[in-house]
Amino acid sequence: MGLEIAFWALAIVGVVAALAVVLLRDVFRAALSLVLCFLAVAGIYVTLSADFLAAVQVLVYVGAISVLIILAIMLTREVQRGSPSNRLRLPAFVVAILFFGAVVFAMVNTPWQVVDVPPLEPTTSALAFKLFGEGGFILPVEIAPVLLLAAILGAIVLVREK
């Protein structure tokens, strides 16, 4: 029962915050509601008993990415112009609704093989074995820092004064 209340509360908060991101005129307020949406998603992870991912979500998204986005908003002084829509507003709305309909149609008509097993808790050590253990994901784990290093170097090169 508690899980259901938590799910519905978090889902409503997340969807309203996501709508605010695309509908608010003020870019800064849109960024703040994006932070709220990230927090709601972290709560959704908790209801899915993914505790480690919830912590990572708060650290990476709420902590780092939102700060980067707010910093960029401050640096570009585009706040005064707001967040207007372009000429494709109506087609974009239609495309989004059609995509939503197609995805929901596919989801409802797929016979998911749901297993009735209680999930692993806590997940941290199991995830570590999965990532670093025998037959795990050690190669992607090694590639990910290379990608991050390349991204950091690219960002520095892009914003450096000529």
């Binding site: 899915l48 960029a72 112009r81 989004a96 692993l120 995830l127 990608l147």
Partner: protein
Amino acid sequence: MSIGLEHYLILSAILFSIGLYGALAKRNAIVILMSIELMLNAVNIAMVAFSRYIVPLLLTGQVFALFIMVVAAAEVAVGLAIIIAIYRSRETIDATEVNLMKW
């Protein structure tokens, strides 16, 4: 009615559609980037929900969600650097006015 896989998948689809609308219909490049972050989060919810309900003991979906977070962090860093570089040279981040490479 208990919460099942479909609830999480539909929530994920709603968030993804909102992000898709924002990414297609907004002018401000930072708002477009924020909408892309919304879409990545929606995909992560679907991944974790599959992991919880279909393979609860394998955690494969959670591993994929972790890698999506890594890629999202790299993407935000490079994307915001590109936006700041564009702002520096053109004094605007309106995606409809940045048409240097438009045919």
